[in-house]
């Protein structure tokens, strides 16, 4: 059984890291989590980002957050990537399977995965 003592241990481990992290998160991954996004399958996409950003050791530079309806419900699940000084990248019709390439090539490598973006999708 998980115990609060384990949580206490996590706290002690995290406290040191938090200080290092402040002010550094320069990339922001935003997942649309309104009714349209949730119904289209945004929850597993969000959870895949949270998991894989952590597994790739990118938590210091990448923040994964949620937002409401982005306004293009027919393309949900929609994920936007913001980076200071660069244009926003909008990924559409996302699935959890597509997350690995975005983490590897875009968040880690700095090169957006063009074929998942809204520009490549037939309107």
């Amino acid at each position: 059984m998980k115990s609060l003592a384990e949580l206490q241990a996590i706290k002690e481990k995290m406290q040191g890291k938090v200080a290092l992290r402040e002010g550094s998160g320069d990339k922001r991954v935003v997942v649309g989590m309104a009714t349209c996004g949730i119904a289209a399958g945004a929850r597993p996409v969000l959870n895949a980002f949270v998991e894989q950003v952590n597994a790739a050791g990118l938590t210091a530079s990448v923040t994964v957050t949620q937002t409401g309806c982005i306004g293009i419900c027919q393309f949900e699940p929609v994920v936007e990537v913001f980076e200071a000084g660069k244009e926003k990248v909008t990924y559409v019709k996302m699935t959890a399977d597509k997350v690995a390439r975005i983490v590897e090539e875009h968040l880690k490598g700095g090169k957006p995965v063009a074929e998942y973006t809204i520009g490549y999708t037939e309107l």
């Binding site: 384990e6 949580l7 406290q15 938090v18 989590m33 998991e51």
Partner: protein
């Protein structure tokens, strides 16, 4: 919506957007009846908005006031022979006691009743997105009672965010252990 855990996530997101400091997610299974309730202390709705809130074609839209979430929940409940009700007290009329209660009743023996789905993922998703809001989750069935109160976790964690990956992992395990008590 594919399952009830997604409806739950959707309705609870409304509570957070309404500024709730505490959102309670309460599921109670008694025999073939599942009661699904979201209780928040957010800003509440005026009577006018409340009247139209379950009608998908109603809007006072300037930008947007209501959406599809409650109509979808109502549909899911009613197609099992169940019901959905919304009670709300707006903060202008009830400054000390405002908030919204959404209650849906499902007949789980009905062929059109959606599966419950992954409630653990719904709870962790809410906490990940809103680490500064509090959530109380309770799922009671004939065999288990699963509970989580983020206020208890916050008391342990202090200034460490509930959205830290390690904390979310712990929450997932904590809930899963309660669903499968015999495995430990």
């Amino acid at each position: 919506m594919k399952d009830l855990s997604l409806n739950l996530l959707d309705i609870a997101e409304n509570s957070v957007k309404a500024g709730a400091t505490l959102t309670q997610l309460l599921l109670t299974q008694e025999g073939d009846i599942l009661t699904f309730q979201v209780v928040d202390d957010g800003c509440g709705m005026t009577e006018e908005i409340l009247r139209g809130v379950t009608d998908p074609f109603y809007t006072t839209r300037t930008t947007r006031k209501v959406g599809m979430g409650l109509p979808l929940l109502r549909m899911a409940a009613e197609q099992t022979g169940g019901t959905m009700e919304v009670e709300s007290r707006h903060r202008d009329a009830h400054p000390d006691n405002h908030g919204t209660v959404v209650t849906a009743v499902f007949h789980t023996d009905h062929i059109d009743c959606p599966p419950v789905g992954d409630l653990v993922a719904t709870v962790t998703t809410l906490i990940q997105g809103h680490p500064d809001a509090d959530f109380y989750f309770r799922h009671t069935t004939d065999t288990v009672q699963v509970e989580l109160d983020t206020r208890d976790l916050r008391a342990v964690l202090g200034d460490v965010s509930l959205a830290e990956y390690e904390v979310l992992q712990w929450i997932t395990g904590f809930l899963q252990d309660q669903y499968n008590p015999q495995e430990t």
